[in-house]
Amino acid sequence: GALVYQYPRRTICKSGTSMRMECQAVGFQATSVAWYRQSPQKTFELIALSTVNSAIKYEQNFTQEKFPISHPNLSFSSMTVLNAYLEDRGLYLCGARDRISGNTLYFGEGSRLIVV
């Protein structure tokens, strides 16, 4: 079945430093990867949608300069949170779309960012 591995699971970083997280799709070809952030209040924000062979599309309030994403192939994507501050804390989720099942997003375990 479709599996998505995401790491690290948890990072504590000092204010102003950066955190890189990685997302690996196993058992399927991830034609698109969506990066979300779940706030401490448990709501979801879409950061960006990355589709192979297309430009990465960032949502309003999120920029490539702050959240650079790499999506070099159908099984791997990474995102970095640059210059993290308190407002960046939360659970970052990678959702990979399976070409066969259409619109279904399969989520990784999430990378929790704690900023101190």
Partner: protein, 114 residues
């Protein structure tokens, strides 16, 4: 733009009673995809149900939901709640095929008591 509205906040039920979590949506697309995700404590969201077929019941792990385009609804139901059903439940919408972009509702926390 697209949006999803769920039963707000916390729903507390006694074990064995039926569960119903409301979900309504707004979209300009005539063929939306609707999803329910469940998130247990300290875990990531996991797909529970999905549908894009009008008036067809979809079931998984004791839960069921039917997409009703006439009322823009996709309510989640279960006949008998179990303690292990305690979790956050998110209804999500994909309004455009081949985008992989989900619009999530605000989530409903379901708490089942003995």
């Amino acid at each position: 733009g697209d949006s999803v509205t769920q039963t707000e906040g916390l729903v507390t039920l006694t074990e064995g009673l039926p569960v119903m979590l409301n979900c309504t949506y707004q979209t300009i697309y005539s063929n939306p995809f609707l999803f329910w995700y469940v998130q247990h404590l300290n875990e990531s969201p996991r797909l529970l149900l999905k549908s894009f077929t009008d008036n067809k019941r979809t079931e998984h792990q004791g839960f069921h939901a039917t997409l009703h385009k006439s009322s823009s609804s996709f309510h989640l139901q279960k006949s008998s709640a179990q303690l292990s059903d305690s979790a956050l439940y998110y209804c999500a919408l994909s309004g455009r095929y081949n985008q992989g972009k989900l619009i999530f509702g605000q989530g409903t926390k379901l708490s089942i008591k003995p």
